[in-house]
């Protein structure tokens, strides 16, 4: 099971919590909106990503899992 980080750009309001919680997976653009790593997440990444997902106050981040 692999996972990727995804964002609903309509729900996202550029709060930036994700970049604080998972700086190695998320950077912010010129206006403070998240640019996500495109890579498949390994176990350690996935824990970090999970923290960013649960920490998003807009519930805009998600983990896309494919079997």
């Amino acid at each position: 099971m692999s996972a990727r980080l995804g964002v609903d750009p309509v729900a996202c309001e550029g709060v930036g919590m994700c970049a604080h919680l998972a700086p190695e997976l998320v950077r912010l653009d010129s206006w403070g909106y998240p640019i996500l790593t495109a890579r498949e997440l390994d176990g350690r990444d996935e824990r970090r990503a999970g923290q960013a997902v649960t920490g998003c106050p807009r519930r805009a981040l998600f983990l896309d899992r494919r079997g």
Binding site: G6, D8, P9, V10, A11, C12, E13, G14, D29, S30, W31, G32, Y33, I35, F62, D64
Partner: protein, 437 residues
């Protein structure tokens, strides 16, 4: 009323694809008003010209779509067979009926081909819609129009009434109008509006073909695509597959002309057919306002063929050929269009809300002679940050158009940057830009 045969060829020739199965002659728009069009197929004329709509099995229809590789003409050129199979499979898997939408929401300011087609051949579009509904297993069939397209609404309501009166065996159709904004014809905006929400694009984790209107599998097809399905279903009888031509809107000298050209035609042929005369244009904006500027010296010899254009990194998009005369300034046109696209954002996704005005601001500064090299580097960075980061493809198109202008009008960029006089600054505007709220 005279019957018009759909197949026009000499008896001595081998039966070729008719050269203009959808439009008999170019349709010229004097302004934004469709009242110039009196031609319209009533149901009896339509049947005399094309015959009755054959009822084919889903597998027969999908086989015909495969054989002709028909792609969507709303701008995306996605294979129709793949979209319909996805929805049919989702209907089978979930046991829920599908929603099928004929999208007549033509938001592209330079485009008029869908309007021209709907006024000329409403029943061919509705035939294709019925075939689509039967093929995927629809329980709800909709024609979506912009609320300010009163003429189209009247034509469609009239055509639907004729079909009901004639007792045609087909699913019943709802006519639904949304706002007349640039983005309200975007497929996910249509799905969202039909689900009870605003007509604004939305982010979807699963494609609408699987999970669309109120969670039901949903097909949204452009009306030209459906007219081609209407022809294709009859190909056994008429030989016209409907896949061999394209409807284009040619913008020449501030007039829009809708032409139908075969895939073997060159862009130069399409420009002539669309009323371009005299000295060649300096460039063309191909596809629409989210398309690409191409120098005419490169574009003139390209074929009106999506496959060939894709190989050149281009696309017919929504079928727009906006021709820029030699005396006009491509950067000034780009500044106006990019400001319009920024103002047309649905204002939902941050990179689009902030990025498009930032990009448009640099282009406007460049036109005024106020942009430095650092500003142009900033523009390139913004472009990279905006592209691909919206719920819909609106920001991608705006970026593509602007970057293609910087390449196509590279000489003008230098002249403007060094504040040398631009011959085109006082040229009247070429591309129509509606007033945005």
């Amino acid at each position: 009323m005279t019957a018009r045969p759909p197949v026009l060829h000499l008896a001595s020739e081998p039966a070729p694809e008719p050269c203009r199965p959808l439009l008999e002659a170019p349709v010229r728009f004097a302004d934004d008003h469709l009242g110039v069009l009196h031609v319209r197929d009533h149901l009896d004329e339509h049947r005399a010209a094309f015959g009755r709509r054959p009822r084919l099995s889903a597998d027969e229809v999908l086989g015909l779509l495969d054989a002709t590789a028909l792609t969507g003409r709303g701008g995306g050129h996605f294979p129709v067979a793949r979209k319909w199979r996805t929805t049919r499979d989702a209907v089978r898997a979930t046991g829920r009926t599908a929603v099928v939408v004929a999208n007549a929401g033509e938001g592209e300011p330079a485009s008029a081909k869908d309007a021209a087609l709907l006024v000329a051949r409403p029943h061919l579009v509705l035939d294709g819609l019925a075939t689509a509904a039967e093929t995927v297993g629809a329980g709800d069939v909709v024609v979506w129009t912009h609320g300010d397209a009163h003429e189209l609404h009247r034509v469609l309501a009239g055509a639907l009434a004729e079909r009901r009166a004639a007792g045609l065996v087909e699913p019943s159709v709802r006519l639904v109008s949304g706002p007349g904004r640039y983005l309200s014809g975007e497929a996910s905006a249509v799905v969202r509006a039909l689900s009870g929400g605003p007509a604004l694009p939305e982010f979807r984790r699963r494609p609408a073909a699987v999970e669309g209107v109120r969670g039901r599998p949903t097909v949204v097809n452009n009306v030209e695509t459906l007219a081609r399905v209407g022809l294709l279903a009859r190909s056994g009888a008429t030989g016209a597959t409907g896949a061999g031509t394209s409807l284009l809107t040619v913008l020449a000298a501030r007039r829009r002309t809708v032409v139908e050209v075969p895939a073997t035609a060159l862009l130069a042929d399409a420009a002539r057919a669309g009323g371009w005369h005299g000295a060649p244009p300096q460039a063309v904006l191909l596809g629409g306002y989210g398309g690409s500027w191409v120098p005419w010296s490169e574009a003139a010899g390209l074929r009106v063929d999506e496959v060939a254009l894709r190989e050149a990194g281009l696309s017919l998009g929504a079928g727009v050929l906006a021709l820029l005369p030699a005396g006009a300034c491509g950067l000034a046109e780009t500044a106006r269009v990019s400001a319009y696209l920024a103002a047309s954002s649905a204002r939902q996704c941050g990179p689009c809300v902030f990025g498009l005005p930032a990009i448009s601001g640099v282009v406007e500064a460049l036109v005024r002679g106020d942009a430095r090299k650092a500003d142009l580097r900033r523009l390139q960075r913004f472009a990279g940050e905006v592209s691909g980061r919206g719920a819909c493809h609106h920001p991608d198109g705006a970026v593509r158009m602007t970057l293609s202008a910087l390449r196509t009008f590279a000489g003008d960029v230098e002249r403007h940057r060094r504040r040398r006089p631009c011959a085109g600054v006082d040229h009247p505007p070429v591309l129509p830009v509606p007033v945005t709220p």
